[in-house]
Symmetry: C2
Subunit: 231 residues, 2 copies
């Protein structure tokens, strides 16, 4: 079956580094679902405000196609244990389709490229193609009794973030909370635990540099993003 | 993007009539997820037993393609009110992809066409192509605070089922509970409320005939399915 994008995301992450490892983790992280011209139809959203949460079905477009392996090494397991691809949400699957639950903040009907959806908690790289938007149905989708396999047994370790005030001041006010939460979620690749290393992350047009020692992340520099911001 | 089926469902519903209107509603309803030969790989399921629930992403293959309308009339609203397609789980969407949460009962590693997954609560017609199987992650997917729009405001009306013992005896014992639950969920099309009408439903190789008066469904006949069972 052929899928065509009906929308794309506009998120603060121009690249994969820093994107939360699961949807819904970071509430303050906002992104726009912008429909492609054919689907900018007000009527197609009628009633959507009654739903607090939505599903996005989207394309893992940053992974090489035609590549599937029966097992993957989830970051949550430190990247050194293998689980079956169907027991994981890894992008390296036979059909590279992602599934994310996001919170619907509001619908902007007035935008030039609207109506568009402001959502919270998206774990999508900027410009990711979206194939479907569905309402979250509590009666069918919420399973409080569900067990989460290795994801329950291995919760993420949060970092403490030291963000010097003079650097934080360079971040637009409405993005400070989100950026701090993204850092606290430990954006490092699982295989890098080098305390001397300076990591760089692009976020909302800024380049953020930081180091991590034990469970403390220190922000070292915040600067406007160079050529990447021009994209 | 091109999707290819990695599996298909083997469910008791040879046609759409009777299929629950949402996944997870009927616990006793069992179905098999049978992988296509290329994906019958034991390793690809490693760790899946740790998850009680799974997502199936599948194709609405009984709807005509290339047909999307901005609004749809959900059965839950009696079929006479319109909501936006993105505020519904209707099959008539730009990309006809379905999303269902099912309970994982067990993995059968020994079957000739195994390993295959026994699941509960599937709302898929027999032979529906499946594009992905993902674990349900409680931390990302379970939103007890979610509001369900028109689906919360309009819960389904359950029917009382009168199943004469001599007819129930014709149903294989392990399917009696599921069949009764399917009938209680009111399989009638929303626009048909004719108390004199005899409805026919195919279920697990049987043809079941029933009438409905007010909130009581009476089973009138159970017989082996004719030519349809041969498929």
């Amino acid at each position: 079956m052929e899928l065509k994008p009906i929308a794309h995301i506009e998120s603060p992450f121009p690249e994969k580094f820093g994107v939360p490892r699961q949807s819904g983790l970071i509430d303050s992280l906002r992104a726009w679902v912008v429909f492609e011209p054919e689907y900018r139809v007000r009527e197609a959203l009628r009633g959507i405000e009654g739903f607090s949460h939505l599903w996005l079905i989207w394309q893992f477009d940053r992974v090489p196609g035609d590549k599937w392996t029966p097992t993957v090494r989830p970051p949550r397991l430190g990247g050194n244990k293998r689980v079956g691809v169907f027991a994981s949400r890894s992008p390296f699957r036979p059909n590279p389709v992602g599934l994310s639950c996001v919170e619907l903040d509001r619908v902007d009907y007035e935008a030039l490229d609207g109506p568009r959806l402001l959502v919270r908690g998206a774990d999508l790289v900027d410009r990711t193609p979206i194939f479907d938007v569905k309402p979250y149905l509590p009666s069918a989708d919420c399973k409080p009794e569900a067990t989460g396999g290795f994801t329950t047994e291995n919760p993420w370790q949060e970092l403490e973030v030291e963000f010097p005030p003079e650097l934080l001041a360079r971040v637009p006010e409405d993005r400070r909370e989100a950026l701090t939460a993204v850092l606290a979620a430990d954006p490092r690749p699982h295989y890098q635990k080098d305390r001397t290393r300076v990591y760089g992350m692009s976020f909302g047009g800024m380049e953020v540099r930081f180091t991590v020692e034990d469970l403390t992340l220190r922000v070292r520099e915040v600067s406007p993003q160079g050529h990447k911001a021009a994209k």
